[in-house]
């Protein structure tokens, strides 16, 4: 049987800063190289909710402030559907701004509170221009049974995210700042939804995680266990080693 996947790319035109398109390219090619059909649905502002609910895997990136305001407004429109999908265990990757949107709120330096979708038990605070942005290469160990390799990425965020009791971090920071630079947590996991501050983009250099998302999406869709054919990852290993070496850590 030939498998097929529909990947929903939330706000590709507005939320695609920091090479986020690389995550999409990676998913498409890794499907193609295994003879899995994939289709990308571009979910731009005003998209129909039926388009969203037909997706098997969701991806959302980060953006500049002006764009985030537009997206925040549009996302409220499909809040119910998106929350249902997340609750049902449809896998998704939400990077930086996308990650923050899923939380309860985002508090700006002047005290303004921007409501999030509230589907994840977390909140984000930004203390403004006087507090340093958290920028740099980062490495964290994912707390997911199937993921055995540390994830290598690049973070660049002003907001500090704090997790509530009902949610687990994506991983533990080995080097870098993670959610807030204090508690060593990085990102969040809820069912099969992953939030992270790791750009880079995250998937090309961490193929184990890319394949995890593809596997989970297929398993959910076809309701059976699926094992993907393995692909050569030597370039990726080398790229990760270069960063590990520059950070003076072993991975």
């Amino acid at each position: 049987m030939k498998y097929s996947l529909t990947i929903g790319w939330l706000y590709p035109e507005l939320m695609n800063i920091y090479g986020d398109i690389g995550n999409i390219t990676t998913l498409i090619k890794r499907c193609e190289w295994r003879n899995i059909n994939s289709e990308v649905k571009m979910l731009n502002p005003g998209f129909k909710s039926e388009e969203l609910v037909n997706c098997n895997l969701l991806i959302m990136g980060g953006a500049q402030d002006k764009q985030q305001t537009v997206v925040n407004k549009d996302l409220k429109r499909v809040k119910k559907e998106l929350c249902q999908m997340i609750e049902k265990g449809i896998p998704g990757l939400y990077v930086c701004g996308g990650f923050q949107f899923l939380g309860k709120y985002y508090k700006e330096a002047d005290g303004t509170i921007i409501d999030g979708l509230g589907v994840l038990d977390l909140y984000t605070e930004n203390s403004g221009e006087n507090i340093d942005r958290l920028i740099g290469n980062m490495v964290f160990m994912p707390e997911v049974k199937e993921l055995n390799k540390p994830i290598v990425g690049f973070e660049n965020h002003g907001g500090r995210t704090y997790l509530g009791r009902k949610i687990k971090p994506f991983g533990k920071v080995i080097k870098g700042f993670g959610n807030n630079g204090k508690d060593l947590t990085e990102g969040a996991i809820y069912k099969e939804t992953f939030g992270t501050y790791s750009h880079g983009p995250i998937l090309p250099k961490n193929p184990e995680f890319a394949d995890y998302l593809i596997t989970k999406a297929l398993e959910k869709k076809y309701n059976s266990r699926i094992t993907l054919k393995s692909l050569d990852g030597s370039l990726e290993d080398n790229a990760r080693l270069v960063i590990a070496k520059s950070l003076d850590i072993e991975i």
């Binding site: 800063i17 002006k66 983009p201 090309p204």
Partner: protein, 428 residues
Amino acid sequence: MRLVNVFLIVFGKFFIFLSKFTNLGSGSTWPGHIALKINPNFNKQLLKSTNAVKIVIAGTNGKTTTGSLINRVLISNKKTVAHNQAGANLLNGLASSLIHNSNTLGLIKKNYIIFESDEFALPQILENINPDYLICLNLFRDQLDRYGELDEIAKKWKETIKKLSKNTTLILNADDPLVSYLGDGRKNTLYFGLSEKENLKRIKHGADSLRCPKCSYMLTFNKVYFSHLGDWHCEKCGLKRPKLSISNFKYYPLPGIYNRYNILAASLLLLKERYNERQIINGLKLFTPVFGRQEKIRYKNHDIIIFLSKNPTSFNESLSTIKDLNEKNLMFVINDRIPDGLDVSWIWDIGIERIIDKSYNISVSGDRCYDMGIRLKYAELFTHIEQDLKTAIDKMISGLEKDEKLYILPNYSAMLDIRKILLGRKLL
């Protein structure tokens, strides 16, 4: 003239001489750095007494080429010019340039001062220089880890421009919405842009400012020349590309559509300075590409041409230009040092697979060669990966047929490394 400045100039000149003599570098920022530490008003005081016409050039891509084009035409018209060294484009670079170009009494007896300004430093630079001309070329995504977001930069620029003297002539790229908006409602502003047919082969992804700078509504483009540059308007608030003062010139010394903009900006300024078309063309004919901007270097009996490519837009445009020249031997070199930005994720915003195919001979090198290797793996292009730069260049060169050329696309620090290997020195 204050005594302390005389001391700083003499000391600085000695330092520049010493660093050139010992080949340690060109001394392009340290003397200025020290001068400003001792006297923070050094730049303003030196500039007060000069009669030179002062030109500041800002923008993500094309500053050095535009500055060099203007410089070339001025020199060919027997004018004297002080022009800061490429890369030394912060306040300390300005101070160093002034030290280098003044006499020991602190007088700058030049007809023109050209200063290429860093995007982030522009507000300070303008406050120090108070220029006769400010050219703003474009704003593209570049080094988000250092510069922050584009909208932020544009906002800061706009605030600074509001404070500029009315006598400053603004020369703006009308095709770039964010840049064009800098002149909104301001007199003494001239615009350059293109009016030709669009090249539909060009890539539109990576377009940075698609929202109206005034009301944030999605912009409509009648034509796109590349990235987000084109003939635009806003359906909601009616803001549109302003009327162009220049859209074509008789002579273009460099290939590439991005260079058309640089040449138009330079020509517009020179025309405003009352040089006629013939004088400008004669000057442009003497122009030779410099410092990694289509710079040609002879190495082991082959021509190597360096196309500095430091962000998605410049990379796409370099690649498209080389493709138009029917050249096939390419090398991409990518580092992640401070001047490059530590974040190399922008390589995923390059549309490599939409510009070139498997018929190209590609090699990859630099600190982050494996990241670029992965990028090309996903473009399904075969590449040679060699982390050591000299080995990588030598291998590529030894594989070339007679008369074949090598085109290298490096980011900034990689470009310096390449010049060091090919010429024995990083800077000019």
